[in-house]
């Protein structure tokens, strides 16, 4: 009974297809991204106040928005970077949304996933945004450089282009080091090193990879979670890379349906939530092994994976939960959207006692 409880604090039904939601840093407000039935894109800004969710602002644009991030914007500016169904990357100042402050035709097809780094965490390198698209390419953008990506990772000419479903930044612990990890519909996971501009590691987990996240972006990479179709997720210990075996990992079954995404708690990196296709939400804790590194017979260092324990699970609705975002400012509060066109603010108690 002293497990954390997951409680739905507020629910808000909308007339939109909701794809993503993000807390606005340093505020009690969040944005949701989606599309209207006629296909136009919408950015809504909500504020929570006394158990209710109030709509503050609605912005409508011609193309439906798929994803967004505040990762590359400074705390003061909080500019929202979005990817839309047409493959365009835009950065918006939500105070003035007449025109985006940055715009690039990033991809030929829908941008499935976006992630940003370098904005909020102080002095950890350049602000950069990474986008992953159905056209199979992963591109890294710097808001200070107009119209051109600073790095492109795509299959060679003539190779099969797999649908890139998810991208994530990590390992950005000083101004040089940075890693981009991407997951594809055929189960490929690729890890690119932006410092050396090379493919650092890749693997295949058999099922399409829906979500990837490092437990922290701004530390020497520690662990990474990848969620897949067919109700499985993988936890990789990315601290130690063995030259042949790669990273140690564990597999966990959960949700009995596609696991759409994983989000680590900003206040405790060993706790993360996974969202399932059946509207369920699971809260996990990663337990480190007594020793994290061992060496094999050749003397190469090899990681040892720990275990995960399920802290709590709950079913929020009957439709897939498409997005979830933990508040960076207040521990235990999160916002999530699902395909039943509803925004939910959830509260998780007792996180500080774990």
């Amino acid at each position: 009974m002293d497990k954390p409880q997951i409680i739905c604090h507020a629910e808000k039904s909308t007339s939109l297809s909701l794809f993503d939601c993000r807390w606005i840093p340093c505020s009690a407000k969040f944005v949701v991204l989606g599309s209207k039935p006629k296909g136009t894109g919408v950015i809504n800004v909500y504020e929570i106040s006394e158990g209710d969710v109030k709509l503050l602002k609605e912005v409508e644009k011609s193309k439906a928005f798929k994803c967004g991030t505040y990762g590359a914007s400074s705390l003061r500016d909080h500019y929202l970077a979005t990817g839309d169904f047409e493959g365009k990357l835009n950065i918006w100042n939500l105070e003035d949304t007449v025109a985006p402050i940055y715009s690039a035709s990033a991809h030929k097809e829908i941008i499935n996933s976006i992630d940003g780094v370098g904005g909020q965490s102080i002095g950890c390198g350049a602000p950069e945004i990474v986008t992953g698209s159905r056209d199979g390419s992963v591109k890294v953008w710097d808001p200070r450089q107009k119209g051109k990506p600073v790095a492109v990772m795509e299959p060679a000419e003539g190779d099969a282009r797999r649908d890139c479903w998810t991208v994530a930044f990590g390992n950005s612990y000083n101004s040089e080091e940075r890693i981009v990890c991407s997951g594809y519909d055929n189960g490929d996971i690729k890890m690119f090193d932006l410092k050396t501009m090379s493919l650092r590691w890749e693997t295949n987990v058999k099922n399409g990879v829906c979500g990837i996240e490092f437990d922290r972006k701004d530390i020497a990479m520690n662990k990474m979670v990848a969620t897949t179709l067919e109700a499985k997720f993988y936890v990789f210990d990315v601290r130690t890379q063995h030259p042949k075996k790669g990273f140690a990992h564990l597999t966990e079954k959960a949700h009995k349906s596609t696991i759409w995404l994983v989000r680590h708690l900003p206040q405790n990196r060993d706790i993360f939530a996974t969202c399932g296709g059946s509207g369920s939400l699971c809260l996990w804790k990663y337990n480190y092994p007594s020793r994290r590194v061992t060496s094999d017979t050749d003397g190469d260092e090899m990681g040892i994976i720990g275990t995960t324990s399920l802290l709590q699970n709950t079913t929020l609705c009957t439709q897939p939960v498409s997005s979830l975002d933990w508040s960076p400012d207040k521990q235990g509060i999160a916002v999530c959207t699902s395909f039943d066109q509803t925004i939910r603010v959830i509260i998780v108690t007792k996180l500080n006692t774990l």
Partner: protein, 594 residues
Amino acid sequence: MDPVLLQKQVRDNAEDLRSYMQDLKNWEADMKRKESELQAAASSDQALPPVRSKIKRVSQDQNSTCNAENQRPTRISGYDYASWDKFDVDKACEDLDGARHQESAEGDDDTVSDAEEKRLREEAIYEKEMGNNFVKKQKWKEAIQCYSRAIKCFPYDAIFYANRALCYLKTDDLRSAEVDCTTALQLDSNYVKAYQRRAVARVGLGQLQEARSDLLKVMELEPKNMASKAELMKLEKKINIKPQPKAVEESGLAACSQNTVTKQAENTSSCTLKSKKSQEIYTRNESVMSHKEIIKEEEKVISHISGKKTTATKETEKKVKCSTNQEIMARQREESRMLENMMRKEHIWPIYGEVKLVHTVHKPPHLRSKKPLKRIDIREVDSNSGQELGMDTKTCSSGATSVEIKSPQIALGSDTGASSDREQNTKEFCKSVDAESIEVKPASEKMNSASQNTDIELLSEKELEDVPPIPNTSVQFLIAWKKVRTNSWLSYHYLKKIPGADLPKIFQDSLDSSTLSDIICTIKTEFLQFKEPVLPYIRGLSDVRRFSALAMFLSESDKKGVKKILEYCKEQDGYKECDDCHTMNQICLLPNTV
């Protein structure tokens, strides 16, 4: 569960939630206040590293211009007057200007003309001087502002970043300092001070390994930098928890001077004659040797070039006195600069990080070394391996395996003379076994190929349990035999289990020639080796019905085998009993008659 406890926990949970809600309310209010504050606050200037692609472009441009500089003098030779006549100087100048314009046009959104660029650079330098003055007065904040302005004017000078990094260090803004140093190093990768400062910043940030690599780089660039050396020692002590593999340390030391490396290598190589890991060091030694050779080569080339140059200039000075003179001078200067570069390169040749770069050397065949390549002695490190080898050959005594064991030793030779007696013994043993097996030969080949498994010596009693039970019928025998026949050891034990006299009963009249030849083969190789009595088997076999017919179809090798077995029988048991098995004797006679 205790209902009272349950009730209490439910109440606790509710209480938790209520307090959380209260907390949340406070937080909401708090956030609103903070947000408005943040919007009012002035922007804090924070150093950001440059855009990723821009760094690359700058360095590429530098490279390409360098290349162009290097290439230009070699493009048309000084004696090639015809082509110099055709050379359009104006056009070349125009091209050059055009390229520069293009460069500045792509470079930034706001295109800057040449004159303005010059002005901006001067302004930047002025700002830097101001900054330096502030630094002398230890007014760090003002200095940072000056350097920031300088960077704004001219962002491609590493010095500005490095100086600002120093100021950040003094004001304890380690992150920014680290970023600035990185930027400076991206602009100039041999900037020692930037490495030093970044190391300090990284130590402050707790990134010890990175700091260490920075300091190692400093040592590489400036081996006599005592301050950094001391710093490095301190840092190494700090890291201490996890000492790096030796190779890294050695490479670090190697940075200090070439001589020490060679000495070290010599030392180690002399030591290792005693030690067992000789192979590794041999290769290292060799690499050092080749390294030296390369350097010598380069020296030769350089002296060659310089020699050529002087003669060339003399000649040209004689012949040409007017217009081209200046060009030649310029080219000479260029060349000497290149030479200098090369010389300098030689000084900092050996290490890039932890990797030794070994460049390919192209030598014409007549200059190549006539010395034979060094042999590398590869030995089993395991001390009881020799014994195992012996065991191995004894037990399976198969020609193929013994050859296998022998061949590496032959290939390696024993030029060190250090190989142990035991090994030599085994070698001799192998040879003898080999000879024997050649004598015995062809029939066994089929078996050998199947029974090469070198793990035979590991076959313990436990595995003997795998030997099938004694058969009652030919079908049982054949099934068991199929399992066993690939392993000579097992098949030997299986046959031994069966009493020879029972063979006719088991086979009745269903013995076929291939099984027969297998059995003969096993008896010949295994039984004879272990001096087991074979007479009952011979008798049993010859008593099997239709044996005489089968014997007709035996292959030449099998017949030889039978002959050998019979000779062995005679040795052991005397002629008398052997005379009993007429049919067998007949077989032996057959080859002569057929």
